[in-house]
């Protein structure tokens, strides 16, 4: 990865999720299903990119996560697995921090320190590819499969999963909390 060609300093080719074709489907029903939607919220950051004060916080994701967690009655500690929008590698890091899975600016340090951060066990947009509109549904399916232990995923330790989908760079975010 460090040898791949530079796209935009310091991001290299393999920091970028490739555009891909794909389709995903999930069935929403009123009857007892595999998993429940416990909470969801969409937030927008109306400040244009050039006018922002900080560039290391995804405010739309942070607000959407706080509201969705409150709706579901959970805290970041309850999250067993998360699928976040990492169209570029750095956005995955910032999204996981915005979801409260690590303190601001602390995710890479905690990974280096040996802690486990259960985000993007699927490989995320970087490995699956960015299938644009279908990406969020992919994430929902992947989180449910991780919660129930359906292959290719191993069952995660816990019953709450979170998905985060984003439009633009912190323009709009949607966070959904799923539980068994």
């Amino acid at each position: 990865m460090l040898d791949s060609e530079l796209v935009s300093d310091p991001l290299r080719l393999y920091d970028v999720g490739p555009m891909a074709d794909g389709a995903a489907a999930a069935i929403l029903c009123g009857r007892k299903g595999v998993a429940k939607v416990l909470g969801m919220w969409s937030s927008a950051n109306a400040v244009p990119f050039n006018a922002r004060q900080d560039y290391d916080v995804l405010y739309s994701a942070r607000e959407a996560a706080e509201r969705a967690y409150r709706m579901a009655g959970i805290t970041p500690r309850d999250v067993a697995t998360a699928e976040v929008h990492d169209s570029y590698s750095i956005l995955g890091v910032l999204a996981a921090e915005a979801l409260g899975l690590a303190p601001r600016g602390g995710l890479l340090a905690s990974l280096r320190g040996g802690s486990e951060v259960r985000a993007n066990l699927s490989g995320g947009l970087k490995s699956r590819g960015n299938v644009m509109g279908a990406t969020g549904v992919y994430q929902a399916v992947e989180v449910v499969w991780q919660l129930v232990g359906r292959g290719p995923f191993k069952r995660v330790d816990g019953s709450i999963g979170v998905i985060h989908s984003m439009g633009g760079v912190d323009a709009t975010s949607t966070v959904v909390v799923l539980g068994l």
């Binding site: 060609e5 530079l6 935009s8 300093d9 050039n50 560039y55």
Partner: protein
Amino acid sequence: MEHESVPLYWRNIPSYYRLAARRCRKCGEVYYPPVVKCPRCGSSELEDFQLPHEGELVEFTVLRSVPTDYMKQKPLVIGLVKLGPVKVLGQIVDAAPEKLKAGQRMEVVFRRVVVDGKYGLVMYGYKFRPRP
């Protein structure tokens, strides 16, 4: 890669050519690109505000993978420059990226941005360069 449409480019000429921003008459906030309603206080009373043509480099990056229209200009240096009350995103020219430093003085220059070969339209606008 398609750039913006011709009508949109024409509408944006005052801001591209002259860096015309808008200032809210109620709360004084300045917006570039211009807005029709103040996102901070909600007021619709905004006036023209001329941005200064000199400022300070906040941060920059070097784009080595560029849209097809910009192949001739590869690599593109894109920077955020503080012009008076606002930060403006734009291309940096006449500078080696390894010699650029955050905080250095920059000035606005008027340059050709892109030539639309299909429709024969030449689009102009502002760019930045280090102040000599």
